[in-house]
Point group: C2
């Protein structure tokens, strides 16, 4: 087990790209059978336990990662040890494509937040596919461009919104992604993150996170019990970061 130093290769040989459950939700859905054959040959499945690192900032990029199960956090850290949690990556998502496509080393690190199974497709395979199938390139272009759009939105948010407003916004995003949002009415769901990581997602400290949570509770906007969040009225949460919607 050389390689990254962590992440164990899956013993189960039955897994492959043809039977893959999430393939239709990935970029690879535009590939022909012959191309999937190629993809399958350049593939290794790996498994990670929570806390294990998938790649480090500064590592050379060796391929892209295809999430099958679990959850991964992408973190960026500066020289002083301050860090920000940029993305949460979930099944059907692709991971690590930015470095490959930019022709750079990784500029962020990825770490399993839950038990995770991922397929690694090596760079030459991805490159070869991209060079011969323009549709795949267009798929990736869409993905990267959308990602850039979110990043730019985040820059604006961080510059203009308060910690509280950013947290309210984060709650909405997490609710959309991980909660069963039954349209209107009271909502309850499980946060997939620790307080520390919630803080890192909005660029603040755990202390400020705690205080913000407390204040939102006393204002009746949301109730927190461990990782369970209860939101009585969705509108009052939205009002926290988009007050103009209700004018």
């Amino acid at each position: 087990m050389a390689d990254t130093g962590s992440g164990s290769q899956s013993g189960s040989g039955s897994i492959n790209c043809f039977t893959c459950q999430v393939r239709d939700r990935t970029e690879w859905c535009v590939l022909s059978d012959a191309e999937i054959e190629l993809l399958n040959k350049g593939r290794i499945t790996k498994e990670y336990l929570p806390g294990e690192v998938i790649f480090h900032e500064g590592d050379p990029c060796r391929g892209v990662f295809c999430m099958e199960t679990g959850m991964v956090g992408v973190r960026k850290t500066d020289a002083d040890g301050n860090s920000v949690l940029l993305y949460l990556v979930t099944p059907g998502d692709t991971l690590g494509y930015r470095a490959l496509l930019a022709g750079e080393d990784y500029q962020a690190s990825a770490e399993a937040l839950e038990p995770t199974r991922i397929c690694v497709i090596d760079s030459p395979t991805v490159r070869s596919l991209l060079e011969h199938n323009p549709a795949l390139g267009l798929r990736y272009l869409k993905r990267v461009s959308r990602s850039l759009g979110s990043a730019e939105e985040k820059i604006l948010h961080n510059a203009t919104l308060s910690v509280r407003a950013r947290f309210a916004h984060l709650l909405m995003v997490l609710l959309d992604k991980y909660g069963h949002k039954n349209s209107e009415g009271p909502t309850e769901f499980e946060l997939p993150l620790s307080r520390h990581d919630l803080a890192a997602m909005i660029g603040t400290t755990p202390e400020s996170m705690s205080r913000t949570i407390k204040k939102m509770e006393s204002d009746g906007v949301a109730k927190f019990a461990g990782r369970t969040v209860h939101i009585p009225v969705l509108e009052s949460l939205i009002m926290e970061f988009e007050p103009e919607t209700f004018l």
Copy 2:
């Protein structure tokens, strides 16, 4: 002159993609002569005066813009009127590709900061080129991915660095791009931006910008006279945002 409502079509008919001075520095350098012919047909040249808007946040994307001369600022504004200056776009750069590639409307607005000449290539032409030439797609993938990398770095910077450190960093970036950096020693160059826009680039207010400039002067890190900046020792500027480099 319907269209965007601003920007006048260039009268000079002699300009085209074959004679274009900046083409080799753009994504289009990978195109064949036949493809450049196509590009040239889908092209209109426009000129803008400082302050004129090239596209607005929310506008549908009608093509990509190819900078020939001048300078453009890409700005993102929220509902309260707070705004951030995300990029400066200069000759040889492409503008507005994000929305096209993501299949979205513009999420930011672009405005000429200097007298500017731009070629507009309409969406169908770009799409068609991308669908048939994978190399072009790879070029754009590299560009968007690098852009995403910078955006992510900016998120980290804004979250962890002080206004002063961010400004020092901005000065370095502007120096690299717009100044003649004669390796070491004292350096002098012209800022391409007003104080207001300098502030918008690092996500702060003009007032804080002023105070930061004043404090940096009294600390001897840089001297400011209007838009002229004089930096006695480059290292002391770098020390402002990367102190660990000198430990």
